[in-house]
């Protein structure tokens, strides 16, 4: 989230699209209720299903799963056509006036540079025209036909309200009604917030869905303001933290990158990370990359990382592919190329797509290690459970170790909520039986492997033998020690570069800010964005002061919010170019004539002048991007792409399948239903229920009683068409698998008219498996395909094609 849960109370309009917050985030959704009750805010829901959020909305419109870009580009078109633009914001704080290379263009659904063979774009034309001075060329009058604004206007021209109705199935009058509601928020004193979740990310073009809304929010001037923002409602309690700390194939904590093998040495790696400003006078904060990176290397390898050995650069692995993400690893596993696999608090047999392939893949492992508070389907993947897990146990040669871990109640440490608050929690219960903390288990694994290398030698033991491990009890590093290590500390005295007599931190002292990180080896810090969370004054994450002066919703002294305890990102954009709030009643910070001050930590050097220093300080432009250059694989603007399985072909280009640059594995390329395949006529989508959390609460007898049994949701019309009774048993199948379920026949889903065809949507909730307290059932992953988002490989769970029929009898396994 750019903003926080408590900030939602400051909004005038909430749009929930790509999520179902009332159901999946109920206690956060209370802030929508608060805004409605006390500000008169309105709530719009756009979703394939009249869901629980829709039931308390002011206005609802249906949309076909996987067509969101069309809706959003249609919205942008309408705003431009009807002059619902926060012009001063757009002119000053976005790249609207930047000129783009003449070679850049779009036709037939594709941008310039497409290579069908490689399924990739040559993105060289997707960039600005640069002047000889090294700065981007602009036309502040927005007259130049090659400026971003005019290219955007041309790009969205196809997305008329009629086109939206044809592709999304959203009736034109409903679309226009929503456009008018949203258009009001182009006023500098009205603001809209976007709340979305996996309904937008789990598509082969998920990142472009989010870009679409972010662009709309910029056009309305709603980024950086109270009650505005792009608010990703993260699904799990610390998935924000796990991502911040870089537990992904290609990440280093704080959103730094693992090198690729093209970056053969430190100098090459750093050469593309200079982040020189391309607009005069801008901050381009990533210019500090080397400080964050060197401090990370020092946190990892201490004295073994020196300037002479390029900070132990070769201790880091180098990637030969963009990432060894989950889906790639399971594909490699299926080819017999993975021997050993660990699952820490993760149940991939139900969470990753294409269950049949997943089971095959796991069956090829030599050893699987599962660490979890609960027993899981993954740790039992080899056990036969009839139709619910129909495997040949004796033939599966995988050894499995199931290790009991503690859960939250028995553990201490910080979790990062969706609003980037790091909140500390304490243990209040004794772990059951022999269950152990994950930290103890990881330490045991590490120390035992290290000992084997010490005793036996072996291949490249250096990064293992030299890993910093200076914990009081090496067998069980404590949460406070680990938190301090992530925050960072001075290794030598750190001086103020502006005043070399001024000491910022003595050697050994915790750093108070990432502004004190250095790239000369004098500081260490595991995760730069967490700097300030554990300073010399102690644990800032444990703060519990819930005062909130003037009821702004900031709660500055509650816990710690990264970065720098800032509650609203880009908050300098809440002020006009003179440094005064667009809306004085919703002030966050303001320019006093000498410095920035206010309720939140300014997202700007405190003495940087407004109008000169632009508020998007992480970007070399200083401005936000309506045109994202070559930063995304599938285009600098979002363009309509059908899901890989869809009831109709892409009307821009019938030959185009799904996202034209999304990765498709050869082994499953034939596992997609054909476009408009009569065998798979119905669109399916997955979702959560409020009574359950993922695959966890089916272990809880209370939640298992609240929602005991797997079901699928269908319209009355589809039930009639297929002869399905209310509560009857049905079989649902895709090109990849089948499930059996109860049929819930409802008015919440209605058939849609898509490009002249009647299209039915089937809803498939995701909470059942074959272990736990609930009845045995299935997850949607038995049906879904292995294709993911072209930029980040989030699997396409939210739009795929299935068939359904009544199933009178319990099938025999």
């Amino acid at each position: 989230m750019t903003n926080s849960w408590t900030d939602i109370k400051n909004t005038d309009l909430v749009i929930v699209m790509g999520g179902n917050a009332a159901e999946a985030h109920p206690c956060g959704f209370k802030w929508v209720t608060e805004a409605k009750a006390h500000r008169g805010a309105k709530l719009i829901v756009v979703d394939p299903r009249y869901n629980r959020t829709a039931s308390v909305s002011d206005y609802y419109a249906p949309i076909r799963p996987g067509s969101d870009i069309v809706f959003l580009m249609g919205m942008i078109r309408w705003m431009i056509e009807n002059d619902k633009v926060q012009w001063e914001y757009v002119r000053n704080y976005t790249n609207a006036s930047f000129l783009v290379k003449d070679e850049f263009g779009w036709s037939d659904g594709l941008f310039t540079g497409y290579d069908e063979e490689k399924r990739d774009y040559d993105k060289s034309s997707w960039d600005y025209k640069m002047g000889e001075d090294g700065f981007v060329q602009t036309d502040p009058t927005l007259q130049d036909p090659r400026c971003v604004w005019n290219l955007l206007k041309a790009h969205v021209d196809a997305y008329t309200p009629e086109f939206v109705e044809r592709i999304c199935g959203t009736p034109k009058d409903k679309f226009l009604h929503i456009a008018e509601m949203i258009g009001e928020c182009s006023s500098p004193t009205k603001t809209m917030t976007s709340m979305y979740a996996l309904g937008w990310t789990q598509h082969s073009k998920g990142a472009q869905n989010i870009r679409g809304m972010a662009m709309l929010q910029l056009i309305l001037g709603n980024i950086g303001v109270r009650g505005g923002g792009m608010n990703a409602l993260r699904g799990h309690s610390n998935i924000q933290g796990l991502t911040d700390i870089g537990l992904m194939s290609n990440l280093i904590p704080g959103y730094l990158n693992i090198p690729t093998e093209k970056e053969a040495d430190w100098a090459t790696y750093m050469s593309t990370r200079g982040f020189k400003p391309i607009v005069p006078g801008q901050i381009s904060y990533w210019q500090n990359y080397s400080k964050f990176m060197v401090s990370f290397m020092k946190a990892m390898w201490g004295d073994a990382a020196t300037a002479e050995n390029d900070w132990a650069y070769h201790y880091l692995p180098k990637l030969d592919v963009p990432a060894y993400d989950g889906m790639r690893m399971f594909e490699l596993m299926n080819h017999g190329k993975v021997n050993l696999y660990f699952c820490q608090g993760f149940n991939p047999i139900l969470s990753f797509p294409n269950r049949g392939k997943m089971t095959e893949a796991f069956s090829k492992l030599k050893m699987l290690v599962v660490m979890d508070p609960l027993t899981t389907e993954t740790s039992h993947f080899w056990q036969n459970h009839g139709i619910h897990n129909d495997v040949d146990t004796a033939a599966i040669q995988t050894e499995v170790l199931e290790l009991p871990t503690t859960c939250f109640a028995e553990d201490e440490g910080a979790l990062v909520n969706s609003g980037r608050w790091l909140q500390w929690h304490w243990a209040g219960a004794t772990p059951p039986g022999e269950a152990k903390h994950d930290t103890w288990i990881m330490a045991q694994i590490f120390l035992r492997v290290k000992k084997l290398y010490q005793d036996e030698g072996g291949v490249f033991p250096d990064p293992i033998l030299n890993l910093t491990w200076d914990y009081a009890d090496p067998n069980e590093p404590m949460p406070d020690e680990l938190a301090r290590e992530m925050n960072g500390r001075a290794l030598a005295t750190v001086y103020d570069p502006k005043d070399p007599t001024k000491v910022l931190a003595e050697a050994g002292q915790q750093l108070s800010s990432f502004g004190h990180y250095r790239d000369d080896g004098s500081t260490m810090g595991g995760c730069w964005i967490y700097a300030g969370s554990w300073t010399k004054d102690g644990n800032m994450m444990a703060r519990r002061d819930n005062t909130d002066p003037d009821d702004t919703g900031m709660f500055q002294n509650w816990a710690f919010s990264w970065p720098a305890n800032r509650r609203i990102l880009y908050n300098a954009a809440s002020c006009d170019p003179q440094g005064k709030p667009w809306d004085p009643s919703r002030k966050i910070i303001e320019w006093t004539g000498e410095k920035w001050e206010g309720y939140d930590v300014p997202d700007m050097p405190v003495t940087a002048k407004p109008g000169e220093t632009l508020p998007f300080i992480m970007n070399p432009e200083g401005a936000s991007r309506l045109f994202s250059r070559g930063m995304m694989r599938d285009g600098p603007f979002p363009t309509h792409m059908e899901p890989f399985e869809a009831p109709i072909a892409n009307v821009f280009n019938p030959r185009m399948r799904g996202n034209p640059v999304a990765r498709v594995f050869e082994s499953t390329a034939d596992q997609f239903a054909a476009i408009g395949d009569p065998e798979f006529p119905f669109v399916a989508t997955s979702y959560r229920l409020t009574e359950h959390f993922h695959y966890w609460t089916k272990h809880n007898p209370v939640n298992a009683a609240l929602q005991p049994e797997f079901f699928v949701e269908i319209s009355e019309e589809l039930a009639a068409e297929r002869g399905i009774e209310r509560g009857g048993r049905v079989r649902v199948w895709s090109k990849r698998g089948e499930v059996w379920a109860k049929a819930v026949v409802t008015k919440r889903l209605r058939p849609m008219q898509i490009d002249g065809k009647t299209v039915h949507v089937i809803g498939i909730p995701l909470h059942w498996g074959f272990v736990g307290a609930a009845k045995k059932g299935f997850g949607p992953n038995s049906l879904t395909s292995q294709v993911g988002d072209a930029n980040v490989e989030t699997p396409e769970f939210k739009a795929f094609m299935v068939n359904i029929e009544p199933s009178a009898e319990e099938p025999v396994a």
């Binding site: 799990h236 508070p373 609960l374 590490f446």
Partner: protein, 199 residues
């Protein structure tokens, strides 16, 4: 203000106050004694209170856990009740149908209590000690790493990656667990590293 007053202490005080004033003031001295003789002591008054956050979604509602026994004092502590933390700015004491049933998640019948091992082809798990399990894992890792670690690519560039072992990290472990996991996995050169952000 900083909220340090324990809820349990507050309730104990408030409860005693109500009993003393309402009955005593009305002149029911004997009735008061009789009343006190049969009223059960407030259950939470004898518990240890711990602040925590809900482990499910990313709203991260504040919760208060009530236990018999004090973990901090080195005692065995049994969780007996969980409720919403009214001091927490986000949830202000409320919990959803999942959070309200949290205690029964902690005490789920399918919680794991000891390490188990499934041998190749076996139809059941068998118990294994922690030492045996961890030694087995370390041995398997060392052998696989030594056999399959890629030190240089065809061009002779040091790449130092290990692709035949993978690690899926969680979504609800603490930052501190995440960091220790990161250090362990990265130091060994594992690149098949992912978390639950996408699913």
């Amino acid at each position: 203000m900083n909220i340090d007053l324990s809820r349990r202490g507050f309730l104990r005080l408030a409860g005693a106050g109500v009993a003393a004033t309402s009955l005593g003031a009305m002149g029911f001295g004997e009735a008061e004694a009789a009343e006190q003789a049969h009223v059960r002591a407030f259950k939470l008054a004898t518990t240890t209170e711990t602040r925590n956050t809900c482990p499910y979604c990313s709203v991260a509602c504040g919760i208060i856990m009530y236990s018999k026994g004090d973990v901090k004092a080195g005692e065995t502590a049994e969780l007996i009740h969980i409720e919403g933390d009214a001091d927490h700015p986000t949830n202000r004491g409320t919990l959803c149908p999942k959070g309200a049933a949290l205690k029964d998640f902690v005490k789920a019948p399918t919680r794991l209590t000891k390490p188990r091992y499934r041998a190749a082809g076996a139809s059941e798990f068998q118990d294994i000690t922690w030492d045996e399990a961890l030694d087995k894992i370390a041995r398997a890792m060392k052998d696989d790493r030594d056999a399959n670690f890629i030190q240089t690519n065809e061009a002779g560039v040091p790449v130092n990656r290990w692709t035949t072992t993978g690690f899926l990290a969680a979504s609800a472990t603490t930052n501190e667990t995440a960091w220790l996991t990161y250090k362990t996995v990265r130091s060994m050169g594992i690149v098949g590293f992912d978390n639950q952000a996408r699913v």
